[in-house]
């Protein structure tokens, strides 16, 4: 058995064939580009971001044992020193996002096979988009009933965008606010197409 399956973005076809502004970028490169962009709105697919879910009464301890941060409240997020972040998505559920630096925890997480007491791993394969620019909040205002004009940073919001469930995490880097939107991968094509159209509309008309 020589063949190994490849991880693929649900958007790979769309992004390759259509978007220049929205090329798929490795996460850290995307942030750099997003901070420098002069576009009023900038949308980028960063679905290469690796997400690892963790659930159960012992999940917080599992994180602590590996020197990973444990956000105190539901929907808060804390950065990982080596890069990435931990989001508390429920009382007993966490989401670890990592990009460049894959910490030692990755292998441990991979070995969680359901036989451990009080902690189970959850496969997360959400599509992730980054939205930034001075009119980024206008894009959300055309699709979502929650006000993001003065967002609470590092606080995850689970809401509906263009009719589908989306997690929106506003955070800032070098003075630039990013809206990181995660969506179920099976809705990714739909949401991407809608957001791209609306980004174009906002760039045209404000």
């Amino acid at each position: 058995m020589s063949f190994i399956l490849q991880r693929r973005s649900p958007l790979e076809e769309l992004v390759e064939s259509r978007a220049r502004r929205s090329d798929p970028l490795p996460y850290s490169e995307a942030i750099e580009t997003g901070c420098r962009t002069e576009a009023a709105v900038w949308l980028c697919d960063v679905s290469d971001l690796v997400q690892r879910g963790l659930k159960g009464p012992a999940a917080a301890d599992w994180l602590r044992e590996r020197q990973l941060p444990v956000p105190a409240d539901v929907y808060r997020c804390e950065p990982i020193d080596a890069g990435g972040r931990v989001i508390r998505v429920d009382r007993d559920e966490f989401l670890i996002e990592s990009h460049d630096a894959i910490g030692e925890f990755a292998a441990d997480w991979g070995s969680l096979d359901g036989r451990q007491e009080g902690v189970t791993r959850i496969e997360r394969h959400d599509a992730t988009f980054l939205l930034t620019g001075i009119r980024a909040a206008n894009v959300l205002a055309k699709t979502c009933g929650v006000d993001f004009h003065d967002p609470r940073l590092d606080h995850w919001v689970l809401t509906r965008v263009a009719g589908v469930s989306v997690g929106i995490l506003p955070w800032a880097s070098q003075g630039t606010t990013f809206f990181q939107c995660s969506v179920d991968p099976t809705y990714a094509r739909y949401l991407w197409e809608e957001l791209r159209e609306i980004v174009d509309e906002v760039l045209r008309r404000g």
Binding site: D90, G145, V157, L158, T159, R160, S165, V166
Partner: protein, 85 residues
């Protein structure tokens, strides 16, 4: 559109929720008469009153209970069932 306050996610427009019907107590299936069981399964109560209703926040998958005055359409309080007692 009405605003409903999810105990976990805070105040959100109604479109973020799924209505789960009124709160009903299931009679003991072993001892209930056929009539009492049919009443539980099929009948709903619309009389003017404060209703306990199930609501579900779709994006986060959270069920909670809302107490609503169905005359004034005022929501008196919302809570997670675990926190009720």
């Amino acid at each position: 559109m009405k605003i409903l306050t999810c105990p976990v996610n805070g105040p959100r427009p109604l479109q973020e929720f799924h209505y789960g019907g009124e709160w009903r107590e299931m009679p003991d299936p072993d001892s209930a008469s056929d009539e009492a069981w049919a009443d539980y399964v099929f009948n709903r109560r619309g009389s003017p009153d404060v209703k306990r209703e199930w609501w579900y926040h779709i994006a986060s998958g959270i069920w909670f209970v809302a107490e609503r005055n169905n005359v004034t359409d005022e929501i008196l309080r919302t809570y997670l069932l675990d926190d009720a007692d």
